[in-house]
């Protein structure tokens, strides 16, 4: 039996839609739109201006501050505009719009293999930073910051997250099958930075092909002593950072601490692959893997896609929307952690690992079934953090934020959505907690500001 964490839920996977569809490269035909802020942190500063000619892999915006990351162009062509455009989250953000010439001429030197043994640790991190790599699992934290903790010797585990516990998404499954060696190469480079660390590739056991491919690659590269391939039980949120650390290192830690504080660094397999490409091939992050799926799509597919490609173009590449169905909901990401999109005419960013197009909206259906809370305690059983969601919701209901924060540890909620998923009374618990956490943080900031 595979190891797993406490709590969790078993939503229907729907991975059969696309899990056997091999990755295919998709080159955008239309314009490329690159938001300056693609992950957590400050948006990057553009280094190009309107009418400049750019090449594939050219850095067109530079990190502005500590938590910020570079943006590279994913096509060759002319900068058409730097203006506000609607992005995948629905917000209008500053974007660099490039007129795609369709030639994809690369910057010289990109994609040429180098001997990495000569690189120092600082040089490795500098290359990762230059490549503009951020966490591709969804949060989008700059990887070069994550790879430079205060004390590298205290890191015990580098966890490559291939769990892919989110329903529908299969692109990392396919990436592990086809680029197993590339992922391991990236992981080996990261392990060079951390002398005491063990590499762990964590994969849910619903991906037997990926597990086999990774094991084979590990044997081939003779790294079995440094890297273990760890199959995990299929359960959501198995791929959550905290769930993985719970399983691998046996540590639970509060949200006020970082994984590095307990000796762990967790990176998505896609991110680790990008690190390998950046360091060995000097290739900035301008492509990543993505799944277009859902019951509304004609041919659900896995793509290697260029950053800034329009979602609508990708949906067309999948054969478009099935005939005779109505599109009810579009999600950036999967149904548990993903967010609803209002339009398909937005560009994919680095953190977009899936677009799920559905003909049914279960949220809408559940609203009609909503009753008072039964106090059944199902939310308590599934919470991977060990919280008491029903009492937290009660505390919010009566406006007792003090109890929410200090007695019920409501800020420890990781918004995984498990409680909302299982709630038989169909209460919108996760939404309540997201809102309340934001409210408490805002109050704290206001208080801190007032004391100055």
């Amino acid at each position: 039996m595979e190891t797993t964490f406490r709590g969790g839920v078993h939503p229907k996977g729907h991975k059969e839609l696309s899990r056997q569809v091999p990755l295919q490269r998709y080159d955008a035909r239309g314009e490329i739109v690159l938001p300056l802020g693609q992950g957590i942190g400050k948006p990057a500063k553009p280094t190009v201006k309107k009418d400049d000619e750019v090449l594939v892999g050219q850095i067109i915006a530079e990190a502005d501050g500590f938590i910020s990351s570079n943006v590279a162009s994913s096509c060759s062509g002319k900068v058409k505009a730097i203006e506000k455009r609607r992005t995948i989250s629905g917000a209008s953000l500053d974007c660099i719009v490039i007129e795609n010439d369709g030639l994809y001429t690369k910057v010289e030197g990109i994609g040429v293999r180098e001997d990495v043994n000569l690189l120092s640790n600082d040089q490795i991190i500098a290359r990762v930073k230059n490549a503009g790599i951020i966490g591709l699992g969804g949060a989008g934290f700059p990887t070069h910051v994550k790879l430079a903790p205060k004390d590298p010797s205290s890191i015990r585990y580098i966890i490559a997250n291939g769990a892919e516990c989110e329903p529908y998404i299969t692109c990392n499954d396919q990436l592990m099958r086809t680029e197993a060696e590339g992922i391991l190469e990236g992981l080996e480079i990261i392990l060079k930075l951390f002398p005491n660390a063990q590499g762990v590739v964590a994969i849910e056991n619903n991906k037997p092909e990926a597990i086999a491919a990774m094991k084979e690659a590990a044997e081939k590269r003779h790294v079995a002593n440094r890297i273990i391939i760890l199959p995990l039980k299929t359960k959501y949120p198995q791929g959550g950072e905290r769930s993985l650390i719970q399983v691998v290192a046996g540590v639970d830690f509060p949200v006020s601490k970082l994984p590095a504080d307990v000796g762990c660094i967790v990176d998505n397999v896609g991110t680790i692959y990008a690190v390998g490409r950046a360091v060995v091939y000097n290739e900035p992050l301008y492509t990543h893997v993505l799944t277009i799926t859902g019951d509304a799509v004609e041919r659900p597919s896995n793509f290697i896609v260029r950053n800034g490609t329009m979602v609508s173009e990708l949906v067309e590449a999948c054969g478009g929307i099935k005939d005779g169905v109505t599109l009810k909901k579009v999600l950036a990401g999967g149904p548990m952690m993903g967010f609803a999109m209002s339009s398909l005419s937005v560009p994919v960013v680095k953190t977009t690992n899936a677009v799920t197009l559905l003909t049914q909206d279960e949220v809408e259906a559940s609203e009609a079934q909503m009753t008072n809370c039964l106090h059944c305690g199902r939310c308590t059983t599934v919470c991977p953090q060990g919280l008491l969601p029903q009492l937290m919701a009660d505390a919010v209901h009566v406006g007792d934020l003090e109890r929410y924060e200090n007695k019920l540890y409501g800020l420890e909620c990781i918004s995984c959505g498990s409680c909302t998923y299982v709630c038989p009374a169909k209460r919108p618990l996760t939404q309540i907690f997201k809102h309340t956490k934001a409210e408490i943080m805002a109050l704290k900031r206001a208080k801190a500001g007032g004391n100055k």
């Binding site: 639970d252 504080d261 579009v330 339009s343 559940s366 959505g417 169909k426």
Partner: protein, 520 residues
């Protein structure tokens, strides 16, 4: 394009569990007990169940409609309440019983407190207790072949042996849903469908069994324990009433504490109380503790538990046992045990004093009913004392008989103490003084707690004096328009039950005197 797509906050999927789904499973899990109840007790039991469910759902429907509160009657919880209430009633309850009970349960206990999930007491149990208190005569009627007869629980409380097998199968003379086998099957269904998780059921049953074993007076006698668990709604309470989501705590530790409170209270009421329905009250009291438990018994998130903190600090060595078991569990267990022992201990310590007091009161009453006696000598008849006496006197026990003597040791009269447990409000103990010629001197009460203004009038001279200085074989209670006879005793107006119990006790004493002359 796609202007119609929906926007909402995640997660965007829901599992198939809904409130009606849960209620459906609970309803289904009660079906075995319902079927056994209807098969054993017949059509009237079926009508009670139907009336109760219809009244419950109807009340919620009316409330929803009149108060514009949505369509909560559709969620199935009212039907479950109605069924649970019906199953906890006697199969001989008049049909207005379940209807009034369901209306009270739904309207007052549930809807008036905000509907589903907001009630602080289990509605079905509250409805049942409301009926027991308000209509105690008609609610506790249990008939066998059209004759009122005691339930196994009443028999058990009176200290008699009961047929555990028939209680287990549900063929005994108890409430409709009394088949333990069927209830256990229902509990198994709930557990299999993940509706209940065992913490509450087993702490209720565990606390109850332990208390009965320690203080029930018969130790770990398996038959006695089984009889106690199988009777008085303990199993139904443990699996279907105490586990009610709304009125039980959230955390596992809270649930254990809650279950222990119910179990220990249930045991306490069973051992030291007199009501056969005490378990319902102990669950309601447990319900009242729930908000308190939920306020203070809050498990910490995984990351803040002691073990997690130790690992975060890099400590991995196993700790001694005393530190591994959460301190709170030890404390709670100790408190429960201490409270139990303290109660039992106080009872044991005061047992002798109470006995002495009772004896003194008895001797004083003997003195009152045989005034010419200077001293008394007890008559030895251990086979008879403390047992239900003869037949035709109801549940009457002869406690003791004494011979009164004057200063010279000459017999001047007899006094017999008899207790009827069929008073309106518990036991009635009476001392009957009999003179040497067999006529009744007079009677005196040593135990009488009847309704003031009604049954308590028995202590008045107008009633008591009727017995004085009469020479009869037995007394006859005159009820209604019955004619005065030579042995007639006039009934206290509005207190037939009390009058009957007293006359039975006196008649038993007379019968004992007449038949036991030889053993003097």
């Amino acid at each position: 394009m796609n202007t119609a797509i929906n926007i909402s906050s995640g997660p965007h999927v829901r599992d198939r569990w809904t409130t009606p789904y849960i209620m459906g499973i609970v309803f289904m899990s009660l079906m075995p007990a319902t079927i056994v109840g209807v098969v054993v007790h017949g059509l009237h039991a079926f009508l009670i169940i139907v009336a109760s469910i219809v009244a419950a759902v109807g009340t919620e429907f009316l409330f929803d409609t009149l108060c514009h509160k949505g369509k909560s009657y559709k969620d199935g919880s009212a039907a479950v309440t109605g069924l649970l209430l019906a199953l906890s009633l006697s199969p001989d309850t008049p049909l207005y019983g379940p209807i009034i009970g369901s209306v009270f349960a739904i309207l007052v206990v549930k809807c008036c407190f905000g509907g589903l999930g907001k009630n602080f007491l289990n509605p079905a149990l509250a409805g049942r207790c409301f009926l027991l208190i308000s209509f105690s005569n008609s609610m506790t009627v249990f008939k066998v072949d059209m004759v009122s007869s005691p339930t196994p629980m009443a028999e058990l409380l009176a200290g008699r042996a009961v047929n555990v097998t028939s209680m287990f199968l549900g063929t005994s003379n108890a409430v409709i849903g009394s088949s333990i086998a069927a209830l256990l099957l229902g509990g198994l269904i709930l557990w299999a469908f993940d509706i209940i998780h065992g913490e509450i059921c087993f702490s209720v049953l565990g606390g109850f069994t332990l208390f009965i074993a320690l203080f029930g007076g018969q130790g770990f006698d398996p038959v006695f324990l089984a009889a106690n668990i199988c009777g008085g709604g303990v199993v139904m309470g443990a699996f279907f009433m105490a586990t009610d989501y709304v009125t039980s705590p959230v955390s596992k530790l809270g649930q254990l504490i809650y279950g222990l409170i119910i179990g220990v209270l249930g045991g306490l009421f069973r051992v030291f109380g007199s009501s056969a329905d005490s378990f319902s009250y102990s669950i309601l009291m447990g319900n009242l503790f729930t908000p308190l438990i939920d306020m203070y018994i809050l498990p910490k998130p995984f990351a803040y538990r002691k073990k997690a903190i130790a690992i975060q600090r890099g400590e991995t060595a196993r700790k001694p046992l005393s530190q591994r078991i959460p301190k709170s569990i030890i404390v709670i267990a100790l408190i429960t045990l201490l409270a139990g022992f303290a109660l039992g201990g106080v009872y044991k310590m005061t047992e002798d004093t109470i006995k002495e007091q009772k004896e003194r009161a008895a001797w004083q009453s003997y003195q009152a009913v045989v005034p010419t006696a200077e001293s008394f000598r007890a008559v030895q008849a251990p086979d008879i004392y403390g047992q239900i006496y003869g037949s035709g006197f109801g549940r009457v026990m002869i406690n003791e008989a004494v011979i009164g003597m004057d200063a010279n040791g000459k017999t001047v009269g007899y006094a017999i103490s008899a207790t009827s447990s069929e008073g309106y409000d518990g036991n009635i103990t009476v001392s009957v003084g009999i003179s040497t010629d067999g006529s009744v001197n007079r009677i005196s009460f040593t135990e009488l707690h009847e309704t003031p203004g009604k049954g308590m009038l028995a202590a008045d001279a107008s009633f008591v004096d009727q017995f004085s200085n009469r020479s009869v074989k037995s007394f006859k209670l005159l009820t209604g328009s019955a004619q005065e006879t030579a042995n007639g005793i006039e009934c206290i107006s509005g207190a037939t039950v009390t009058s009957k119990a007293i006359v039975n006790a006196v008649n038993a004493a007379l019968d004992f005197f007449q038949n036991a002359k030889g053993v003097q």
